[in-house]
């Protein structure tokens, strides 16, 4: 059942509130129902997103709580970051509601992301506050010092993360832009709340007993960080060497990255949209349209329709494309039903007569406009992946350029000298054979036939067009004349005996070569009683008989052509009744009076000198449908990926340089991120995980979050240098002071992203898994590559080098 939703309303709401309930009310007891199409897919995306949210949020909350407790071993250590996250997430979803933004397939990532990331700022603020616990100063002073020391790196970390998300404004896909802006807003909210709510909370509540708070000397993280710090200090160059080796190994994988932008591929295999897709693919040729759009002066003309039909036949020949149809099909089918020939009539008035039958039909409105200037050739695609779609788009571009770049010319063969007719027919044979070969490919499922031999056969056939005295033509003429003259509605109401006499006279004359209208007139005048003879009626009878003879010859030609070529067609094609019907129709067109050829095929015909045919031009011919859309989306993905990556890198570099007051330090700070990105993208390439509209976010988010670790580490080194430590001591101490927060932060984020592995949507699973890996690498490289680089290059950090 095909349902068309009127434009102007909300199609998703219409599906949800009207279509689905109505269909299920009447049909759910009797049939299996599958929904396919954009409104239903969007509806089910919403349903799946909501399910995902309901499932994932509790898990991520629990996971974060465990991480926080493991790190801080304190109720307040769990409570405060949790509250920050709860408030920030609530604010973001409230903002969504205020702005009337609907959920989509990436929405479930938002709360998970905010819960994982938002806790980071609270972790760093808390970590600093806990370090002040043992001090002798007043609580308020301790909080002031802690907040003052942590505010800069936390703000920088928050801004860089927000910038990472905000870089999605270049994404060209609204759901990604929206996601980026909302996530960025959520990060800023978490930042503000962390820097205000947590210190304020500790201002009200006691800081806690010393023994319950672990300082960095006794924490079990230190048992890992201490040896790591020693190793990196001692083997900085070795650390860098191994990092580079691994980096280049993964870098090789980057050219292997594939892209997937078809949203249908994102749904779980057992979900409604995918099941419906499978059903439609199996039984209806596919769910995705591929169309060719034509805009001309008069689609209802014979010439235009033959050109549309040609495009339709080409579409059929492409593997994975099926059920091509256009208004030309309707006309041909009508012609077949009425006149037993599946072809476009050779005159506009012939088309108009057939069109009369179809006018007003709803199906016509879908493929031709009321003013008859625009039309579509429709087809369906059986595959859904981006690669297939891109190949189709490419093929279609080549075809359209080759076929339609120069325009066409139409000729009325009856008005042309015989020599020119023959030359044009020869060109027409080659031209029509293209369509025959496409049909063979379609009905033979990719098989071919000897086109060269077919051309030779047809060219020899057109040298001897059927004549009235040929047996096959004779037989046909006899049948036609009998059906006409002996019918109850023969134009003259005469007795059977007179009809018999008339028939014999006419048929004898018809078998001669020069069967003409004036001869029929003469016979009629002699045979029809004068009391009923009428000149006008006799003229009409004569014209009808001449027309029938012409038809008979053309029919005979088409049958001769088919029989002559039959043995070179593949077996299964020969047995296909639809192929035969269409082939006969095409051969009929070789014999009829209309020839349409592209201008570039006329250049080699000398007889055309001085003869001008009627040009047939289209104002626009273009492909549309899913391949064009997906190719564009794919391009957007490609461009968006680069743009967001470059933007995030540049902004982060500028911020880091400003914060550190050194371009060199700004560059060094980026190296853990660059390392991480190289590994992650190489991983995508090696594992075949496609770049899609979720995984495209990895770069920017990784930059935005991953830089946080570098910010905290370099800030910690700077603080320690300002206290008079040497560079080596400052680096080592920073490991112990900041390391725990970095590890806790990264664990919280990693756990949060890992929860997305439980999502029902594949892009979110890919995104969650790769982001978890990215965060691990960012933290690890901030604790290995960054300190190693600092120790080797010895940039100016803090007040001393």
């Amino acid at each position: 059942m095909a349902i068309y939703i009127k434009s102007g309303g909300d199609p998703i709401a219409t599906f949800k509130d009207v279509i689905k309930p109505t269909v299920e009310k009447y049909l759910s007891d009797t049939v299996n129902i599958y929904y396919s199409g954009e409104p239903s897919d969007a509806y089910f995306a919403n349903v799946l997103s909501t399910k995902d949210l309901t499932r994932l949020i509790p898990i991520v909350i629990l996971a974060i709580l465990i991480v926080l407790y493991f790190s801080f071993k304190s109720f307040k250590g769990v409570l405060f970051p949790s509250l920050v996250v709860l408030m920030a997430t609530t604010w973001v979803f409230g903002l969504m509601g205020l702005l009337h933004r609907a959920m989509n397939i990436v929405t479930p990532a938002l709360p998970v992301l905010l819960i994982a990331l938002g806790s980071a700022y609270g972790i760093h603020v808390l970590n600093k506050i806990f370090h002040e616990v043992g001090s002798e100063k007043t609580k308020l002073l301790r909080l002031k010092i802690a907040t003052a020391e942590i505010i800069i790196p936390v703000i920088m970390a928050g801004i860089t993360t927000a910038v990472g998300f905000a870089s999605f404004v270049t994404a060209k896909l609204n759901i990604i832009i929206e996601f980026g802006l909302l996530a960025g807003a959520g990060i800023i909210f978490a930042l503000i709340i962390s820097l205000s709510f947590i210190p304020a909370g500790y201002g009200v509540l006691p800081l806690g007993k010393k023994k319950r708070l672990l300082n960095y000397e006794n924490h079990y993280y230190t048992q890992f960080l201490n040896p790591l710090a020693k190793f990196v200090r001692k083997h900085s160059k070795l650390t860098l060497f191994f990092a580079l080796l691994v980096f280049f190994l993964f870098l090789i994988g980057i050219p292997r990255i594939t892209r997937e932008v078809n949203f249908a591929e994102y749904y779980p295999k057992k979900s409604q949209p995918r099941l419906a897709l499978d059903v439609v693919k199996e039984h209806f040729g596919g769910a995705y349209p591929l169309t060719i759009y034509f805009k001309g002066e008069n689609i209802k003309s014979a010439a235009d329709l033959r050109i549309l039909r040609r495009a339709e036949n080409y579409l059929c020949s492409i593997d994975g494309v099926s059920l091509a149809f256009s208004v030309a099909d309707f006309i041909q089918e009508m012609n077949f039903q009425l006149n037993r020939r599946f072809h476009i009539p050779g005159s506009n008035s012939g088309v108009a007569n057939l069109w009369f039958f179809m006018e007003g039909r709803d199906e016509l409105r879908q493929i031709v406009t009321d003013d008859l200037k625009e039309s579509l050739v429709f087809s369906k695609l059986s595959h859904t992946d981006t690669k297939f779609m891109k190949n189709i788009q490419k093929k279609m571009s080549v075809f359209l350029k080759r076929e339609f770049s120069e325009g066409f010319v139409r000729f009325d063969m009856d008005k042309l000298p015989e020599r020119l007719r023959q030359s044009l027919r020869k060109e027409e044979v080659k031209y029509i054979l293209d369509e025959i070969s496409w049909l063979v490919s379609y009905y033979g499922q990719g098989k071919n036939f000897d086109k060269k031999q077919a051309r030779i056969i047809l060219l020899s056939l057109i040298e001897t067009m059927p004549e009235s005295e040929n047996p096959d033509v004779k037989e046909r003429i006899e049948d036609e004349f009998k059906n006409y003259i002996f019918s109850e509605y023969f134009d003259f109401e005469i007795s059977s005996r007179l009809k018999e006499e008339l028939y014999l006279k006419l048929i004898t004359a018809a078998f001669k070569q020069n069967f003409r209208k004036d001869e029929i007139d003469r016979i009629l005048k002699a045979s029809i009683p004068s009391s009923i003879y009428d000149k006008e009626i006799a003229d009409d009878v004569a014209n009808t008989l001449v027309f029938r003879v012409k038809e008979a010859k053309r029919f005979s030609f088409s049958e001769r052509a088919y029989l002559a070529l039959k043995n070179i067609f593949p077996e299964d094609v020969k047995k296909n009744g639809n192929f035969k019907k269409k082939a006969l129709g095409l051969f009929y067109e070789i014999a009829d009076s209309l020839v349409i050829l592209p201008i570039n095929k006329l250049k080699g015909i000398p007889e055309l000198k001085g003869i001008v045919g009627e040009t047939v031009e289209f104002q626009k011919i273009d492909q549309s449908g899913f391949p064009a859309v997906l190719t564009r989306l794919d391009r957007f993905l490609y461009i968006s990926q680069f743009q967001s990556l470059i933007l995030a890198l540049i902004v982060t570099f500028i911020l880091m340089s400003l914060m550190s007051g050194s371009l060199l330090l700004g560059s060094i700070s980026l190296t853990p991120i660059l390392f991480t990105l190289g590994i992650i993208y190489g991983f995508l390439g090696w594992t075949g995980i496609p770049l899609d509209y979720a995984t495209m976010m990895i770069a920017s988010i990784s930059i935005g979050i991953g830089i946080d670790y570098a910010i905290h580490f370099t800030h910690g080194v700077g603080l320690n240098m300002d206290k008079g430590r040497s560079l080596e001591e400052a680096v080592h101490l920073t490991y112990l002071e900041k390391g725990k927060a970095i590890i806790t932060n990264s664990m919280a984020v990693i756990v949060g992203f890992l929860v997305l592995l439980l999502s029902s949507m594949s892009p979110l699973r890919h995104f969650g898994g790769t982001m978890a890996g990215s965060m691990f690498l960012a933290a690890f490289s901030a604790l290995t590559i960054l300190p190693a680089l600092i120790l080797i290059i010895r940039p100016k950090i803090g007040g001393k080098k």
């Binding site: 006149n339 009539p345 012939g350 007569n353 006018e359 007003g360 109850e488 134009d491 009409d540």
Partner: protein
């Protein structure tokens, strides 16, 4: 005593009123008499102009010549031949009954019988279906009820009989008391949703009332078609030979 007289008089009055109150069937009978019965022209010839206006406002104009023969108590016969536009000139349409409809396509010089299921299709892209253009008559297919009456018109409700092969589940018909012909009809589809609205202007030619202008609006598509008649000639003694396939093939003059 006076009371009794009054009561008896009132009873007689009420009884007479109820005896003389017209029923829906009677109104419909009058309509059919005007359209296809004793009070309809025995035959008619006219030029028709069909203006089809699409939802977007674009117009198509078709001109045709029509002949009708009223066969009382049987299906009436109709022949229509197109005069314009040129690409459909001489396309002919012959209706002998609901099951016998023929089409002539001059470019192919062939007559084809139209299948009965095609009756529901649009006629020439207009808002009239083949069924609308076919033989007139309602009582065969619809139950009727008079739902309202005033001094100018009757309002009838027609409900499709079971198994009647008609596209409209229900028709609401306003019948002019003056002409005894429908002035307006609302046609409802199988879901009982308003589908089409037809408005007629009728005029008297001799003793007959004849619809000379019909506006058919397709409410769902928001398109409408106007059918205007001119050069109307009635009771010319049109012979059977006009309502034949032979005549259908004739070029129109």
């Amino acid at each position: 005593m006076r009371k009794i007289t009054f009561l008896v008089t009132m009873s007689i009055f009420v009884l007479n009123v109820s005896i003389w109150a017209i029923t829906g069937s009677e109104v419909l009978k009058r309509v059919e008499e005007r359209m296809i019965g004793e009070k309809a022209p025995k035959d008619m010839e006219a030029i028709m102009r069909m203006i089809i206006v699409s939802p977007k406002g674009s117009k198509k104009v078709r001109e045709l010549k029509a002949w009708t023969k009223n066969n009382i108590n049987e299906d009436d016969w109709r022949v229509m031949k197109f005069l314009s536009p040129p690409d459909i000139k001489n396309v002919g349409f012959l209706v002998l009954s609901d099951e016998q409809m023929y089409l002539y396509l001059p470019e192919f010089r062939r007559i084809r019988r139209i299948a009965s299921h095609n009756k529901k299709e649009s006629f020439m892209g207009s808002d009239f279906s083949y069924d609308d253009m076919g033989t007139s008559g309602f009582s065969r297919y619809y139950e009727v009820k008079l739902i309202k009456e005033d001094d100018k018109e009757w309002v009838l409700e027609l409900s499709r009989k079971p198994k009647a092969d008609k596209p409209y589940k229900r028709i609401k018909m306003w019948v002019s008391k003056e002409s005894e012909l429908p002035a307006k009809m609302e046609m409802y589809d199988n879901s009982d949703e308003l589908w089409k609205v037809s408005e007629e202007e009728n005029k008297k030619i001799g003793e007959y009332w004849i619809p000379f202008k019909i506006n058919m609006k397709d409410v769902k598509k928001n398109s409408f078609t106007t059918l205007e008649m001119k050069d109307i000639k009635v009771d010319q003694g049109l012979g059977k030979e006009i309502f034949t396939n032979r005549f259908l093939r004739r070029r129109v003059k």
